[in-house]
Symmetry: C2
Subunit: 344 residues, 2 copies
Amino acid sequence: MALADGGAKLSAVNHKYELAARPVGLPKPTDWSFQEEPVREPAEGELLVRVIYISLDPAMRGWMNDRRSYIPPVAIGEVMRALGLGRVTASKNANYAVGDYVYGALGVQEYTISKGSGLRKVDAGAAPLPVHLSALGMPGLTAYFGLLDIGRPQAGETVVVSGAAGAVGALVGQIARIKGCRVVGIAGGEEKCRYLEELGFDAAIDYKAGSVYRALQQASPKGVDVYFDNVGGETLEAALSLLARNARVVICGAISQYNSTIPPKGPSNYLSLLVNHGTMTGFVVGDYVSRWGEGLREMAGWLAEGKLKSREHIVEGLEKFPETLLMLFSGENHGKLILKVAEA
Amino acid sequence: MALADGGAKLSAVNHKYELAARPVGLPKPTDWSFQEEPVREPAEGELLVRVIYISLDPAMRGWMNDRRSYIPPVAIGEVMRALGLGRVTASKNANYAVGDYVYGALGVQEYTISKGSGLRKVDAGAAPLPVHLSALGMPGLTAYFGLLDIGRPQAGETVVVSGAAGAVGALVGQIARIKGCRVVGIAGGEEKCRYLEELGFDAAIDYKAGSVYRALQQASPKGVDVYFDNVGGETLEAALSLLARNARVVICGAISQYNSTIPPKGPSNYLSLLVNHGTMTGFVVGDYVSRWGEGLREMAGWLAEGKLKSREHIVEGLEKFPETLLMLFSGENHGKLILKVAEA
């Protein structure tokens, strides 16, 4: 096995986090099993990827539950699923050359053997590498298609987004501004709210500071035309109570409910949809796979023009995975949460 | 005042039910006030209508609450709002002649003075009069636009409707059959389920007989493409759990929740919309007012061809109003519930 690029030696060892148990509530250290194994040589058609950045996303919590969903759950004893960006260090696949940067479900580990399906080559010159996990990665595509295809915001409308300082939310708000909307962001804490103002949001609501309903009512005097929900729970209820006629509610996530040990709270005022001729639509970014190219081109253009800012929160060290993942649920991260596990 | 047609004498008296108190839970007899008053002469531009049939609808329960909705609540001391069909017995309005049959919000009373706005003339020869409150009235238009415009059923898809033996539900199922769908109806009791089978439903589920979820799973092996919800609560949750990809949920009502003294139960599994790229849309028939003519023409055609059956449950006597209204919530009515208060 000829390993080029200094990325891995013949004797390289892979470290990885496997799912050891299905979490009840927040994932505990004992829900993970840290393993090492020799890195094997890629077989015909395969490539070996040195993982550089691992994307930590709220959706990962859902993949840990043994429940029918848009993709199968991670099995006990399987390496934890995660998106990541890495460099090809050996290849027996004609589509990938040593040195290529790739983005895909590389897992919470240092090396990945792949057949190449589900990977996407990344133009490392187009933007700093972490941006390819953020505005030019899954969060960017999620914001782009969720807002534009489902939310269909029109200039002058009021767009409200929760989890607004998060990876997806901050992009949703900025895209809505580009489209000429009045944008209200809901986030936790003063610092995050200041960040939203820096990004050009018209109003920022600190959900920890008081009644979200009252603050949202004040910030949306004409009602909410588009609500992009990342959090669920009481924030979703507040937005539903304030819908404008023909409002569109985009269900992207429900981070407030992911670690609940009781069934998620359903929005008790969902009949606001009836009263206001509103619609509530859920999606995952995979629903738009055939249009990812279109989304990436437009997002890259906005980044290049300075209309869109991408922010990443990078933590170093694979061994920090269990505690770093929890930052998503405590809201400690500022921007797209990424674990760096090797030098680019 | 020249009253023609024997409908009312100069000394005619109107009897009416006013809202006396806002109900907590099911409306009680003391929530109503039965009043009588002399019938006054119509002023210039007005017409006098002798009410013949009063439409009793689940939506009336919502109008009794002091809550922001698609129309203002009925005020305390105001005649209870209800759709109805009557005959013009005196007119100083050029658009209406004595003898015309009209349909509109006539109220729970024997005579209505109207300026004509919001009334629609009815072609009494086109169908028996009660059908104009049923398949050719608000329930028919609700079924037509809710199913076709929001549900958008395609031939071969599975359409599920709750409250399926009710005024709207029975029409929804029949229209879905006309469109070539597999139709599953959910209703309470064996007799209602037999009725659904008579109407050509492919499957009928008695929600009183056991787990709706399990029965619905069996009846919808490919999942639920369109769910038309009239009831809310656990039935909505069961349907959400069984959505097919790109499913459409039509929120028409939530009769299981209307008399609840605690906040309505929200669907705790609404994230099924996310997993299945589903959409949930609410509406009231008034959202489609500009297209009512189109709906009525097509419904009348299907009735004439025998493809659609309209069923009415008629109770006689204005004084039976309070107890008859409750039949909607106990599910005792079979077909569109109508109160007959005068001879046609």
